[in-house]
């Protein structure tokens, strides 16, 4: 790695540290009034960070971050009002209390959104509604908690400022000291977030953002990760809210208003979606702009300018400041994706594969049987899976063929769990009933699926794609690295380890997808038209792969390509109109008139 590249990779740490030190230095010479205003920018930056965690990393546009900001603010401030006088110090009370309450509320809302598997639009609208509902309710909500008096629209007054010292005579910090405190807290929160997002947790969250279904097909419980990410962001927002309460000494329902909520996506977009540090850049840019414009005629139209600004940001500056800078910098870095052009055609070494599979069997156990009994799936008037009874065993590949609309893919999806059957049952392994079991649990029990279109994480490198799959299985970083390297070697992708998956050709992506499934060490593997879009040589390699796989696990292949099916030398089932029409080996079926009928559309019974 060149020096430039090293800096680029650690830019997320080095530049924020430099910025923090610069800000602390500036605080020494800063005018107290500017320090006072700048503190609000730093707090806003934290609020923006919470949105970037949920949106930039998690993939959900949440318009509810100000809800957790306000809730954390109120809760932390109530605690500070009551317990501050006990210790003198308020910083041990309000930020942690705000963070905890923010996390709690976010976990509750997140549970509703993610466990109900709501669509992205519904989730966003629900988060927006939550904020508006809070705004409406808090205007008439009055409650006295000890010394704290929440007065509805009149808000919560007498919130103590930031007090660092202990004891009865501890004084609140002055504006410059408050600014320094805010910077220190913000820096700690940012670093913690960065560590979290670089860890395996953050990497899984990234995968979920890129393709949630694929992440689930690797065996990750997507919902848990999403809720955890959302709750963490809620904690960050709640902490920011508590700091805001201490800064303004006053909170009121306007914290839940539309104008406040509008600012947060603007901060994130200006700074750069997904960059984490961008939220701070955006908040300081917007805050600074507002400060320099002052309160005059132009400043008075801040909301109008922000509204128009948001439109322009969305249309033209998708990446924000940091994003654009990063793009420019990347132009001068060595391009790893060029290795994609040097890829050799895939050549599976049978011995290597056998060794891998024996290894997998040792770790994951023997191959399992998949059986469906009277599986029945309907969509309104269409019945793509009509009481199909099949048993699939290891030894030889099992193929499913049939004309278009026969229900082959639907049957596969029912076995995987993408569709839930209305009737019938699916049994796995030792007769375990998995009919109602969610997808990720089936994957963990040993089911591997390769869908028709290649499903890879485009933004990740080849190695990372395989690693995420292997980690899902082993939950051990070293084991995952070992497995990924072996599979990568088997596929001949060693030189392409650092290539982004989106740059690979269609066929290469198919192979990568297959590799990812193999990393899971499945006991039953379902392949939906794996040969689609492959060249003749690749199809030959695939056939050899499938036959070797079938010796170690149960293999079910849905296919159109008759030649390919013939090379598999396995058992073949013909589906027609959702039902099992015929079965046997390929040659006898090809000679069967009835089968030819349904393919060619001859005679009445088709």
């Amino acid at each position: 790695m060149t020096f430039s590249e090293k800096i680029y990779r650690s830019a997320g740490i080095t530049f924020p540290i430099i910025a923090t030190l610069a800000a602390l230095a500036a605080a020494g010479v800063m005018d107290p009034y500017l320090a006072y205003v700048a503190t609000s920018w730093v707090i806003a930056g934290m609020l923006g960070l919470s949105l970037d965690i949920v949106w930039g990393r998690g993939g959900l546009l949440s318009l509810g971050q100000t809800a957790f900001y306000g809730l954390g603010g109120y809760f932390g401030s109530v605690i500070a009002i009551n317990l501050g006088p006990v210790t003198g110090n308020t910083l041990i009370w309000s930020p942690p209390a705000g963070a905890a309450f923010g996390a709690l509320c976010a976990a509750a809302l997140g549970w509703i959104i993610f466990f109900a598997r709501m669509g992205p639009l519904q989730s966003t609208i629900l988060s927006y509604t939550f904020t508006l509902l809070l705004w409406s309710l808090t205007q008439s909500f009055q409650l006295d908690v000890g010394a704290a008096s929440i007065g509805g629209d009149n808000g919560l007054s007498n919130i103590p400022g930031m007090v660092l010292g202990f004891g009865q005579n501890a004084e609140a910090l002055g504006p410059v000291a408050v600014f320094v405190a805010a910077i220190v807290i913000a820096a700690m929160v940012y670093l913690l977030t960065r560590v979290l997002m670089k860890s395996t947790f953050g990497r899984v969250v990234d995968c979920i953002r890129i393709d949630a279904q694929k992440a689930e097909l690797l065996g990750y419980d997507v919902r848990l990760f999403q809720v955890a990410n959302f709750a963490y962001a809620g904690a960050v927002a709640g902490l920011a809210g508590a700091l805001f309460g201490a800064w303004a000494n006053y909170l009121n329902p306007s914290i839940f208003s539309v104008q406040e909520a509008l600012l947060v996506p603007i901060y994130v977009l200006v700074g750069g979606l997904g960059t984490l540090a961008g939220a701070f850049v955006g908040a300081i840019a917007i805050g600074g702009l507002s400060y320099w414009l002052g309160g005059g005629a132009v400043g008075g139209q801040t909301t109008l300018i922000l509204g128009i600004g948001l439109i322009f940001l969305v249309l033209f500056l998708k990446n924000g400041i940091l994003g654009a800078l990063g793009d420019l910098w990347r132009l001068s870095l060595p391009d790893h994706n060029s290795a994609a052009r040097d890829a050799n055609p895939v050549a599976i070494d049978p011995d290597v594969l056998e060794a891998l599979l024996k290894d997998a069997a040792v770790r994951a156990g023997p191959a399992k049987i998949l059986e469906t009994r009277d599986a029945f799936k309907r969509f309104g008037g269409v019945v793509p899976v009509n009481k199909v009874c099949r048993t699939f065993q290891p030894g030889r590949p099992s193929s499913l063929i049939g004309p278009n609309g026969a229900g082959k893919s639907s049957y596969l999806k029912t076995c995987v769990g993408i569709y839930t059957p209305e009737a019938g049952s699916i049994l796995f392994g030792d007769g375990e009933d998995i009919t109602r079991v969610p997808i990720f649990k089936r994957v963990r029990r040993g089911m591997g699926v390769k869908n028709q279109k290649p499903q890879v994480f485009g933004d990740l490198t080849v190695f990372d794609n395989l690693w995420m799959a292997a980690y899902a299985r082993t939950r051990n970083k070293n084991a995952a690295t070992e497995i990924s390297e072996k599979i990568m070697g088997m596929l001949g992708f060693t030189k392409q380890a650092a290539v982004q998956a989106s740059v690979l050709s269609h066929g290469q992506q198919q192979w990568l997808d297959i590799g990812m499934v193999l990393c899971l060490a499945p006991r039953v593997i379902l392949l939906d038209e794996p040969a689609a879009g492959m060249t003749n040589e690749e199809t030959r390699e695939l056939s050899s792969l499938v036959r070797i796989l079938a010796r170690h696990m149960t293999v079910i292949v849905v296919e159109h390509d008759m030649e390919f099916v013939r090379t598999l030398e396995g058992h073949v089932t013909v589906l027609h109109q959702g039902e099992v029409f015929a079965e046997g080996d390929i040659d006898s079926l090809r000679a069967d008139d009835r089968v030819l009928d349904i393919y060619l559309g001859r005679r009445a019974h088709v």
Binding site: S40, Q139, S149, G155, A248, N252, G295
Partner: protein, 404 residues
């Protein structure tokens, strides 16, 4: 004897020597109002009134020999801006007095800031009452002040059964409390109440509930433009003929301009000021106002509240001989009076609220009002009762009747 006399002469001459020095320092005041955004109907007039008052005083020689300087900020109808600009005015501009805010929440945001900085702050709008703070002075009328005379008058005119329609936040809930209090005193009864969220546009349920309760009159406190829809629906359902309608805030935001003539005719409003008030001070004031700002928009009570506040503060400065906080606050607590457009007003020393006339006006079908009754010299009894800042200078509270 000789030395005492010469000591006294020394003191006087020193004072005289210092006086010009103080007099030549410009006095700066802050004006923070909502010039843009949803509340600008009030904010623009408040700001205009302040400018007019300052120009008038400056035209007469200024304050302590020098003109008053105004730093003006637009709070854009946003809470966060009040906090920001109050701090700016204090930290950066170092103002001697602040005139700001419309909503109670803006006042509550500003109070701790001016308290810390110890400068006099004037809150210049009608509100639910109960603010009690050494630095805060209120020239707007309080809900108890308005309702004390309105309810009594309305019961005598319409009958003893009252229905309350109020917005669902402090102003509404506290006003409802006072209505029940004064109803009891007048021998009347509140037969029903409905609190409406500010975003509601569907008034049919309220109108049905009113009809079910069969009141003699309704006390309506419509806040925000949405709620004028209530008055239209009420009139359209033909209820105005049988049920009276009174309000303490209708007209304070020129709602009578918005409401259609049919719906506005006969509505009763009660406030500390209406433009049609007939006295020499108001005639002069209106003339001055219209010369500078035109006659298209009626003057709202909040504008006169600001005018009164500036003049009272300026009188206090003159009385104290200095613009510094301690002497000015002491002067403000000395029982100042002022010949205001809404009659003679007196700043109550203990409660820092304004004893003023309360007018009852009836809407006509030309988007305007006709004064039907004047209650002179109404005291803010609740505030006088609860809040005595001369005896307890360290009080800093917002009294609400429910939290007793």
């Amino acid at each position: 004897m000789g030395t005492a006399l010469s000591a006294k002469t020394l003191m006087i001459s020193t004072a005289l020597a210092l006086l010009p020095a103080a007099a030549f320092a410009d006095t700066k005041i802050a004006a923070i109002f909502d010039l843009t955004g949803g509340l600008n109907i009030y904010g623009i007039q408040q700001n205009n009134a302040l400018q007019l008052a300052v120009d008038t005083i400056n035209g007469q020689g200024g304050l302590l020999g020098a003109p008053i300087e105004v730093v003006s900020y637009d709070a854009q109808s946003e809470q966060s801006k009040y906090i920001q600009y109050s701090n700016t005015a204090i930290l950066k501009d170092q103002v001697k007095a602040m005139f700001a805010g419309l909503t109670s929440s803006s006042r509550e945001a500003i109070r701790p800031i001016v308290r810390k900085a110890n400068i006099p702050y004037f809150y210049t709008a009608l509100y639910e009452g109960g603010a009690c703070d050494k630095q805060t002075f209120v020239t707007g009328s309080s809900a108890s002040q308005q309702l004390s005379v309105l309810i009594d008058w309305a019961v005598k005119k319409y009958g003893k059964k009252i229905y309350v329609m109020a917005p669902d936040y402090n102003f509404g809930t506290i006003s409802a409390h006072w209505i029940k209090e004064y109803a009891k005193q007048a021998g009347a009864e509140v037969v029903g109440e409905d609190f409406l969220a500010l975003t509601i546009t569907d008034y049919a349920p309220t109108i049905q509930k009113i009809q079910a309760a069969k009141p003699d009159f309704v006390v309506a406190l419509p806040v925000g433009a949405n709620q004028t829809g209530f008055l239209e629906q009420f009139a359209a359902a033909g209820l105005k003929d049988t049920i009276g309608m009174v309000s303490t805030n209708y007209g304070s935001g020129n709602q009578q301009v918005v409401v259609s003539p049919d719906a506005g005719k006969g509505l009763i409003a009660s406030q500390g000021y209406f433009q049609p008030v007939d006295n020499p001070a108001n005639a002069a004031f209106v003339k001055l106002w219209q010369a500078k700002y035109g006659s298209e928009t009626p003057i709202v009570s909040e504008a006169v509240d600001v005018w009164n506040a500036v003049h009272l503060w300026s009188a206090a400065v003159n009385k104290a001989g200095s613009a510094d906080s301690a002497p000015v606050i002491a002067a403000l607590e000395s029982g100042l009076t002022f010949d205001a457009p809404n009659g003679m007003v007196k700043l109550e020393p203990g409660s820092h609220h304004l004893r003023q006339n309360i007018y009852i006006a009836e809407g006509d079908d030309k988007h305007s009002f006709k004064i039907v009754e004047t209650f002179p010299d109404v005291a803010p009894t609740y505030e006088n009762d609860k809040c005595d800042l001369v005896a307890n200078p360290s009080l800093a509270k917002h009294f609400t009747p429910e939290s007793q």
